[in-house]
């Protein structure tokens, strides 16, 4: 077991434990903040996989964008000064069946897929290849995503301005 293994298990534990807390804790604010550590752990695992760009994007988009938005939403939509922001659990049985099925599917995929195991040849950086792939092979998807985001943006702006008329 070398340092990388130790680091991997560290990040894995951080990710799993905090993800568990996200699901089980009854306080929405706590869930949101545990999500922060989950994202952090996932970013660490990306770094260990030599995907530096993805790791940084993970932090930038999820922590810097989505998590902040989430926190804003939670903080502004509930009673601000009270800690009484709690979630309940309903529909326990159907939910556990659905989740169990989904998990089974995922685990079976994980087990029966023939993973391409390559000897570790860590590229110095992944930005160049990523950029080239985005502009060549995945150009259409890339552009479509851009348009989708633009539509979402315009839609949000128009919803926000609707009651002015």
């Amino acid at each position: 077991m070398n340092y990388y293994d130790i680091l991997f298990y560290l990040f894995a534990i951080i990710t799993l434990v905090s993800a568990g807390f996200v699901v089980t804790t009854r306080n929405v604010i706590y869930s949101a903040f545990f999500l922060l550590f989950t994202f952090f752990g996932v970013a660490g695992i990306y770094v260990l996989l030599a995907a530096d760009f993805i790791a940084v994007v993970q932090i930038m988009v999820y922590v810097g964008g989505i998590l902040i938005l989430l926190l804003f939403g939670v903080m502004l939509t509930n009673k601000i000064t009270n800690v009484d922001i709690r979630t309940g659990t309903g529909n326990l049985l159907p939910a556990s069946i659905a989740v169990g099925l989904l998990m089974g599917a995922l685990v079976s995929v994980m087990i029966y897929t023939g993973w391409k195991v390559q000897p570790g040849e860590v590229p110095d950086t992944s930005i160049k290849q990523l950029g080239a792939l985005l502009i060549t092979d995945y150009l259409l998807i890339f552009e479509l995503l851009g348009i989708l985001l633009l539509i979402a943006l315009i839609g949000a702006a128009s919803i926000a301005r609707r009651d002015k008329e």
Binding site: Y3, I29, Y30, F33, L36, F40, D52, F53, V56, V57, I59, M60, V63, G64, G65, L67, I68, L71, F72, M75, L76, I80, T81, V83, D124, T125, I127
Partner: protein, 355 residues
């Protein structure tokens, strides 16, 4: 530096720790001298004397303050959220200190030469935002919460012009690595990016005005990101007591101050790397003229820290010049002025780079 200590000690952990100590010492010194300089600069600009009691010229004022802070009782309000309240200062400081991992103090003194350094520096500051929100929410105080909200809103919006200028610079330079960006601007000051970079001919002169615009935009937006006046509505003392750290005292409060000054130096460092040659000397190196090779990294560290302090001084200068912006003015500056200019600048720099 890491390599050197790795060869010396043969241990990954020890060499990593030693490499991490240097930026930490730098942050502590920046906070220690920064508070002193802040008070002195404000005093001089208002025709006062400033701290001059503790030690020669009051140099030990911050040390005395620090000792006072250590002795303070850790008073906490009753209805706070204890866990988040205690984590928040650590998270904020961790976020601001993490930036130093990629900042090249000299050609030898750099924590990690990762290829996405610039992007990383922008990304980890989002931990600061999360920490600020955490601090504001857990304090269970309306001023704290308002301050945290304002701070987060401000940092998130001003990240956009920063990112756009960084994008323009990345298009021009073709790399995200901070050490490579610094290396590109070597030799003399006319090779600095603000003066068109290490190119010659018409392109260089065409670039200069747009580089200046880019510099102004990124300087303003990073100023907003570290919550300094005129963008200090998150901790507007006349409205919100102290913003998100109203409920903190003693060493936890000191952590917030430490991270604020650490952030100030970090953004100064990034601005100076992007536009003012990073650790490069403006006039060539003494080590080269005298033929002493080992002197060069020290000179580079000297120039780098000098540039960092210069921009910290400019931040203070602005702080004691301008009044605080109102929140709508703040958003107007960001969305109506900085972002359009940054976009136009991005396009023009792109076109010129293609020429």
């Amino acid at each position: 530096m890491y390599q050197y200590f790795y060869e010396l000690t043969g241990s990954v952990i020890i060499s990593t720790l030693i490499t991490a100590v240097f930026p930490l010492v730098n942050v502590l010194l920046v906070a220690l001298l920064g508070v002193y300089l802040e008070r002195k600069v404000s005093a001089w600009m208002q025709d006062r004397v400033g701290p001059n009691r503790a030690g020669p010229f009051g140099l030990f004022q911050t040390v005395a303050d620090f000792i006072k802070m250590l002795q303070k009782e850790d008073a906490t309000a009753l209805d706070i959220d204890k866990k988040l309240y205690n984590i928040a200062p650590v998270l904020v400081f961790a976020g601001s200190f993490a930036v130093y991992a990629v900042i090249p103090f000299s050609s030898k003194l750099i924590g990690s030469e990762i290829e996405v350094g610039l992007f990383y520096a922008l990304a980890v500051s989002s931990f600061v935002v999360a920490g600020i929100l955490m601090a504001g929410w857990s304090s269970n105080n309306k001023y704290s919460l308002l301050g945290a909200m304002r701070s987060a809103a401000q940092i998130v919006s001003y990240e956009i012009p920063t990112a756009l200028v960084v994008l323009a610079m990345v298009m021009f330079l073709g790399t995200l690595s901070l050490s490579k960006i610094s290396e590109m601007q070597t030799a003399y000051f006319w090779n600095w990016n603000i003066l068109g970079g290490a190119e010659f001919g018409l392109v260089k002169f065409l670039l200069i005005p747009f580089m200046v615009v880019g510099f102004v935009i990124i300087f303003i937006s990073t100023l907003a990101e570290v919550n300094r006046t005129p963008f200090d509505i998150p901790e507007a003392e006349s409205e919100l007591v102290a913003g998100y750290f109203t409920e903190y005292c003693g060493m936890k409060w000191a952590m917030f101050m430490l991270s604020e000054y650490g952030n100030m130096f970090a953004v100064s460092a990034i601005v100076s790397i992007l536009f003012f040659g990073g650790y490069q000397s403006p006039f060539g190196y003494l080590g080269n003229t005298l033929g002493i090779e080992w002197l060069i990294p020290y000179e580079q560290a000297f120039w780098f820290i000098l540039k960092g302090w210069f921009f910290i001084f400019v931040q203070m200068w602005l702080r004691w010049t301008l009044p605080r912006l109102r929140v709508d003015q703040l958003m107007t500056v960001c969305w109506k002025y900085l972002i359009p200019y940054a976009f136009v600048n991005l396009i023009i720099i792109g076109i010129i780079t293609l020429l």
